[in-house]
Structure formats: structure tokens, C-alpha cells
Symmetry: C2
Subunit: 327 residues, 2 copies
């Protein structure tokens, strides 16, 4: 490797820490700095790189090849994506599915006139799962696509439970229904309701004096989050929550079931089994940071998604090596 | 859809028939003609398109946007790939892994100076499996990749059995060893020998008077093909061979098992369960034919592989639709 691609991290939560760790697994990449809105003096990063105030980031345009934006989709990225892609090549994990078209346009309007490349919505869903939905329907146009999530910890649903009065702490697991998965894998293309695809399991710590029955009722009837699912609620102690539910596993499947010829069933499946959801998402972000820099050097500027990135761009290997070793 | 992309097929075996059928599943594509080295008058094609002598193909350069080469990797493609990519955009399923770099250079030398785009080695292995090996090692650089094939009918191994003296007919199935697959899925990254990964099962029809024990011995000791595997040989009647072993199922798995962070196991898996191996390969070829034409219109000429093709190019949908519907 001649020159390493220089990466900057914006935001140092679970995702930022995961990116830092993933960069250390890639010899062709190097971490330049972590940028934060917190007081940099109070932030200690594992790799020992400089921690700098986000407000000063403009001074570093010549020191960083790609910025990985590790903030949240709700409050951070809608502002940071468009602002930072004016100055840097960027990669982010914007995951509010319904707002992706709008976010794409905003980032494109920033990146393109400034000659920057910004890959948005990178991770596993949106991300690798999206790619597999696309491969599935493009290769088997007559068929049905099924996405199952879990077993895994859902941050959004855990947060929703925590907001209920009387709840001190909580985690929520999304669990695919095995019978439904098996039916899909068989090639039978079943129609499945929301309730038939996933169940939800909550582990809840109550505030002192809270009414368990009331809390349970508030959970299972919560519209959008739980009302359409079979939900189990387990009450546990604070100690149990810490000991048994601190990990962040996740995963899932994308299955495309189609027919070809007279009536042959063809099933494609992509699945993930992750012990750490944020660390895996970070690893995907880092591979796409490599691609963003290559695309920028090739003159491909503006906003992009995983659909626009040729697989070979993710690898540190040359096209010749890839053909020889992996094809 | 305004104008349909016009496809030509070269060669009308299992793969050519599968391509014809797959084109009929895609509204934005149309089949123009089938080219053959046989006597066109004797070839009846399902869709009723013109069947033309391969020798006349030069007259059709203005009538076809992409040619799909459906010949074999041993004798047909090494000649047809370089010859036809001088005149047409092409897609083929060249699958002699060891010779891919050499074949790529030969096709590139034809296609590039003539402004044509030629995507080689398209299908599922090489093809979709290769892409998943690449995604796996790029996203999880610390880990191991495992490819399992089957349960499926292997043409090469069936042919090898048929060449043995005393064998009238035969099929061979490659079967992944379930215990090995489970070990890999667990994230333990085992080292597996050839024998530990797959078993082989043969169904053989003997010539009259042939010695079963001798045939069995010839099979199980055959170097490269069977000697390194646990092989089962079943003798059956010709009627049984026709009734029970006429289908061409196949499939397999690519599993990447890696570690991130302190020591979290992350497992990515891509699998195929195919009732018709040639029809599925054909479906992949057709999606890449769409991509080849788009790339050619974008000025991307020369030889390419699946590693060079952004996923979005495989779809008839616009980039905007893809972001909205599939991301």
C-alpha cells in the first residue's frame, strides 16, 4: 500500500467507536481525527487520535479523504449530511426509509457542485439488505421478496417502551417467526401479515410502585410499535437488565422466491447473524468509505447509494487480483 | 417502457433456452433472434423468433443491442467471446475459474478498441457467489470465507462417471456436509478439509454385462473428481435414471465468518436453492445483459466482470425509483 486513505469520524457513539475499530482492521486506511460536538477534552478515544471540535472541521479539508458521519438519522444527519458533503467526501447510515429520497436530493445538491462524493444510507438495512432485494427482483422478476429482521435488539422499540410511565429500563427484541421463514424458504410465496412474520419480546424494569399490568397493557396496545404484533412482556430486575441484555445482537434475512421456465422454484437468500449490530454497520461504512474515495478520484461526484457502487470498489485489492482470487 | 433492449442468443442448449424464457419475463427486453451453428431449419425455438446461422451474424450488428453467449467454456467461449465482442456488446458465463484472467484479457482486447462492452463470467459461481465472497472479505477483513455447493447435480462429475467403461448413464450429486455448514454458521471459523465439506453421490446405469464392483472402484478412486471425497455409488435402471434424475437442481452457500471489536462474531451468508440450475444462470445473464447495454451507453467499454457492475444497473427501474422502493 502506497498512501493510506485518510478517514475522519464525526460523532463518537456506538457507531463512531465501531468505525474506529473497523479502520484498524484495514491496512489501506488510517484514522486522522474524531470530531465531536461535546467538549473534546472530555472525550478519550481508544486509538489516541486527536479529538477536535466539530465547529473547526473546515480547517481539516486537506487532511481527510473521507468523513464517516456517525450521527443519528433523526436529528444529526439531516443537518450534517448536506453541510459536510460540501467540504468532504462523506459516507453515512441515514436509515429513515421514508425520507431517503428527500435526504438524497439535499446531499446531492451540496456534494455535486463542490466536486464531492457522498454515499448515503450505508449499513445493512438500508444497505446490504437493499442490495439483495434489488438483486432478487432483477434476477427473478416473477416472484416475491420477504425481509425478516432479528432475532435482534431494536433501539427504536426499546426507546418506545422506555418512554412509558412507570418504566425504568427496557429492551425489546424482534424475533422472526420460524414457521413463516420456513414457508418462504420452501418457495411457496405465501402472503404473510405483519403478525405472522415477527413477534416482539420486551424485558422491562419497573419504577418503584409502578403497576405491572398497566405497563404491560400500554406496551401491547401501542399503535405502530406493538399493536399489530404478538408481544410478550417480561419484568426483570435492574441487575438482570445490565447482565443479560447489554449486548446488541441483530440480523435477519432477505429472501427472494421466484419462478422460472415452466414452473421451477428458485430461492435466493441473504442472511446476517450479528453479535454486534453497531460494529457490523460500522464495518460496512468503512468499506464504502474506501469506495467513496475511489469514485471521487474517478470523477463520480454527487450523492450516491449502495445501488450505485460496483462491488469491486469496496475492496483494497486491484481488479486484476479480484478476478484471479475471488471470481 | 419506450424502446426495448434487443437481445440475441448464441447457442440453443439448456442455457439458450433458459435465456429465451427469462427474456419473456422482462418487459423492457425483447429477443431478436437465435444464432446457431446447427442447421437453422432443424431448430425450432419456443418463442418463434428467427433462427439464423451463426456465420451470418455480422449482418445483424444494427439489430441487436446485446448478445448473450450461451456456449460452453471449454470449446465455444474461448473462440466466440473474443470474436463476437468485436461486433456486439456481450454477456457470457465463462466458468473455468483458472482461465478467467486470460479470457478477460482476450475479450478486453476485442471489445475495447471496438467500443463494445463485454461482461464475462456471469452466473452464480462465478457470479453471485463471487460478489458475496467479495462483500464478505471487504466488510469483515478479519475472518474466513466458506463456499459450499449443493445439493445439486454436477455436469462435470456426471460426465466423468459416464466416461468410465461399462457405464451406460449416470448422474452425480454434490452434497454439502451439514455438520460442517453448522460449524461454519456458528462463527467458529473451522479449518475444513475437502472431505469434510462435501460428499458425492452417484446414480449409475450399467452396460449389460459390466462389473458393478469394478465400476464402483473406478469411480471412488478417480483422482481430482472423487478420490478426495466420501462417494456413494448407487446402481439403478435406465428407467429410474430418466424418471428420478432428469431435473437439474443445484444451489449452495457462501458464508463469511468474521470478528469485529473486542471479539464479536459476525456471520454473513448468501444461499441459493435452485430447482433449475441452467434457468437460474440464464436469469442472471439476462439481468446483466440489461446492465451491459446501460454501461455501453455510458461509454464504459471493454471487458467487465460482475465486480464492475453497480447493482442498480441490473434493474429496469430508475435510480430514483430504486431509492424510493427498495433502499
Amino acid at each position: 500500500m502506497d498512501t493510506k486513505t485518510r478517514i475522519g469520524i464525526v460523532g463518537y457513539g456506538n457507531l463512531g467507536k465501531g468505525v474506529e475499530s473497523a479502520i484498524s482492521q484495514n491496512d489501506d486506511l488510517t484514522l486522522t481525527a474524531v470530531f465531536t460536538r461535546r467538549n473534546p477534552a472530555e472525550l478519550k478515544v481508544h486509538s489516541g487520535v486527536p479529538v477536535l471540535p466539530l465547529d473547526d472541521i473546515e480547517s481539516y479539508v486537506n487532511d481527510i479523504d473521507v468523513l464517516i458521519l456517525c450521527g443519528g438519522s433523526k436529528n444529526d444527519l439531516p443537518e450534517q449530511g448536506p453541510a459536510l458533503s460540501k467540504l468532504f467526501n462523506t459516507v453515512d447510515s441515514f436509515d429513515t426509509h421514508a425520507k431517503i429520497p428527500e435526504y438524497f436530493e439535499a446531499v446531492d445538491a451540496s456534494a455535486k457542485p463542490n466536486g464531492k462524493t457522498a454515499i448515503i444510507s450505508v449499513g445493512w438495512d438500508p444497505g446490504l439488505f437493499s442490495i439483495n432485494r434489488l438483486y432478487g427482483e432483477s434476477i427473478l422478476p416473477e416472484g416475491a421478496t420477504y425481509t425478516f429482521w432479528g432475532k435482534g435488539l431494536s433501539q427504536g422499540h426499546s426507546d418506545a417502551v422506555r418512554r412509558i410511565k412507570g418504566v425504568k429500563g427496557a429492551v425489546q427484541y424482534t424475533i422472526p417467526v420460524e414457521a413463516a421463514v420456513d414457508k418462504v424458504r420452501s418457495g411457496s410465496q405465501p402472503e404473510l401479515s405483519t403478525r405472522e412474520k415477527h413477534t416482539r419480546e420486551c424485558f422491562v424494569v419497573l419504577e418503584e410502585g409502578a403497576d405491572a399490568a398497566q405497563v404491560e397493557q400500554a406496551i401491547v396496545t401501542m399503535p405502530d410499535y406493538f399493536a399489530d404484533y404478538d408481544t410478550t412482556v417480561n419484568f426483570i430486575s435492574e441487575a438482570q437488565l445490565k447482565e443479560e441484555h447489554a449486548a446488541m445482537p441483530h440480523g435477519g434475512f432477505v429472501i427472494r422466491s421466484g419462478k422460472t421456465g415452466e414452473s421451477n422454484n428458485q430461492v435466493m437468500e441473504f442472511s446476517l447473524t450479528l453479535e454486534s449490530n453497531p460494529e457490523f454497520t460500522s464495518s460496512v461504512l468503512v468499506a464504502y468509505a474506501r469506495a467513496a474515495y475511489k469514485m471521487n478520484k474517478n470523477g463520480e461526484t454527487g450523492a450516491r447509494t449502495v445501488f450505485d457502487v460496483a462491488p469491486g470498489l469496496l475492496s483494497p485489492k486491484s481488479a486484476h487480483e479480484l478476478r484471479k482470487e475471488l471470481l
